[in-house]
Symmetry: C2
Subunit: 211 residues, 2 copies
């Protein structure tokens, strides 16, 4: 996924000569706390946040150029950069928005923290049961009951707490991937648990075949 | 994980009687675009964004109570709600911040979109090789070379493209979980692929044991 596939296009451009008052109205209208300031070629020349605007309104500044940060202080991503770059920039710097530029340094979009949350939360919010269904599908011939029985056994071994296959099934029906990762102590542990279940059902199947 | 474990505590409270000018300075200082308005018991009575402040400064409003939204318009989470609730609220409504309240409806923190990005990106940015190492660790007795050989085989079967175990290893060394999910077409497919690798190494091990 590229940065351009994640960016929001409904932002406003400001120009150096725009008045602080007009800029404040434009930002309220589109409800954006940050805005790129561009030249006549839509190239990034500065950056405005609502903090610059409130200070400018208080101090009676007239033009955007008087209150903006310079373009050099702004972190950008290129439209063809991996979306991951915008995510890491946002996470490490607590950014609200990262502007996206093209080869000509024109601002063509903005990656917003809330867009990233939406994207990542789709992953995080997938039901665990779907992963078990994928596993069953993969391990041809294994029944759902065998999978739940193996899972309950592995769970008992890992947590020390007895759980029936039915209880285990009820748990995974309601829990999401994000919750499961936190409950098991991380992605690697969650995954190791799944592998361990897979290993057990395969061992049981081999055992049956021998009999 | 609970909402209170995800919340940021370095925010400012505003009161109804605070002046718009003072509020604007306080928000600039802590660099927060949103603020809860509370009563003397720190209970939520309203909500302020930088848009309310810029409009208030322009219109010459004096007090915060003149420009704030009412508490009824604000979505909150309880401190003991699952963190997931704040994530979903943020994703669905493109919120910048969700206030966290306790049993007495006192605001005790704010979950910010950028905090959620940081949390989720840690998951998303984990190296795929770590999952393979966890798998090897789980499947006791399987060597790294066996695992890579099986992975290259499964990859060839899935993609139709021949790949050597060494090339496969180089790929997973550099790629992250997030990238792998997009590359394989989703979390379920990614897991199905890993399960399939596990299945193959187990089958090979069983085969060797029989000989």
């Amino acid at each position: 996924m590229k940065a351009k596939e994640l960016m929001d296009k409904s932002f406003v451009y400001l120009n150096c000569d725009d008045s602080v008052v007009d800029a404040s109205k434009a930002m309220e209208e589109v409800r954006r706390f940050t805005c790129p300031v561009v030249n006549e070629n839509k190239q990034l020349v500065g950056w405005i946040t609502s903090f610059d605007i409130t200070k400018g309104l208080r101090d009676g500044n007239d033009k955007i150029s008087e209150v903006m940060s310079s373009a050099e202080e702004v972190s950008t991503v290129h439209e063809n950069d991996p979306a991951r770059k915008a995510v890491i920039l946002t996470a490490n710097n607590k950014f609200v928005t990262v502007p996206v530029v093209n080869d000509d340094n024109q601002v063509i979009g903005m990656v917003r923290a809330c867009d990233i949350v939406e994207l990542l939360s789709e992953l995080y919010d997938i039901k665990v049961v779907k992963l078990y269904k994928a596993m069953q599908n993969q391990l041809k011939g294994v029944t759902w009951e065998e999978l739940m029985a193996a899972s309950a056994l592995v769970s008992k071994k890992t947590t020390g707490k007895k759980i029936s296959p039915e209880e285990y099934e009820a748990n995974i029906m309601n829990s999401t991937f994000g919750e499961a990762i936190w409950a098991t102590g991380g992605l690697e542990k969650f995954f190791a648990g799944l592998i361990s279940v897979g290993e057990l059902v395969i061992a049981r199947r081999v055992g049956k075949a021998k009999r």
